[in-house]
Amino acid sequence: MKLFEIVDKPIEVEQVIAKVESRKAGAITTFTGVVREWTKGKRTLFLEYQAYVPMAEKMLAKIGDEIQRKWPGTIVAISHRIGRLDISDIAVVIAVSSPHRRAAYEANEYAIERIKQMVPIWKKEHWENGEAWIGDQLENVPYPDGKPNIAEGDMK
């Protein structure tokens, strides 16, 4: 059972949840990122995800380590899909179990923020009238020192 994985097949939420189940858990949170049809008035037809697979899995595991240090007692599993994804397809599932709910929410949100900062996965949007690779960080602030925040940090 791989807690952190890049896959090219559909992801089942229940299967990611199953990886974090524990008799110590009182709360399990999931985040599911799905392909949205409309973004700022622009219609997406489909997406294409690419990853640097071995490094992406390593970085997902690093996020898991960070979470276990910050929120002891949590268990994290993350699956991210690559390839062509249609509207409503699942791109990513993050599951976190914890004895108590606050940590399960916080750790889950931390995971998605960190994925968007530092995991080598790229999304190409295909619209009716064009296509483009999206760089989430570029849409926000360029890296202040030419690098992303690789060290664990506070979330934005």
Binding site: Y52, M55, A56, K116, P120, K123, Q137, G146, P148
Partner: protein
């Protein structure tokens, strides 16, 4: 021999997924200069760099046998 991996828009701009170049020990920033001098790589300055699957800084050393990946702004999730 240094193996260079390209992704996303870099891969499309360049038309290949990887390049091998013969170089002795160098730094990340020197490697970037060499690539910019020899190839058309408009997006290179916006990229992060990973050496053997770990993020690296401009001053880090690259040596023969290493795999260097240029990582355009990521957009997973």
């Amino acid at each position: 021999m240094i193996k260079i991996l390209l992704f996303a828009q870099l891969q499309e701009e360049f038309g290949v997924k990887d390049i091998e170049i013969n170089l002795m020990e160098t730094t990340v920033s020197q490697l970037k200069e060499i690539l910019k001098a020899n190839f058309k790589f408009p997006s290179l300055d916006h990229c992060m760099v990973a050496i053997n699957e770990e993020y690296a800084m401009d001053f880090d050393t690259v040596q023969s046998g290493d795999t260097v990946a240029f990582i355009p702004p990521v957009s997973g999730g």
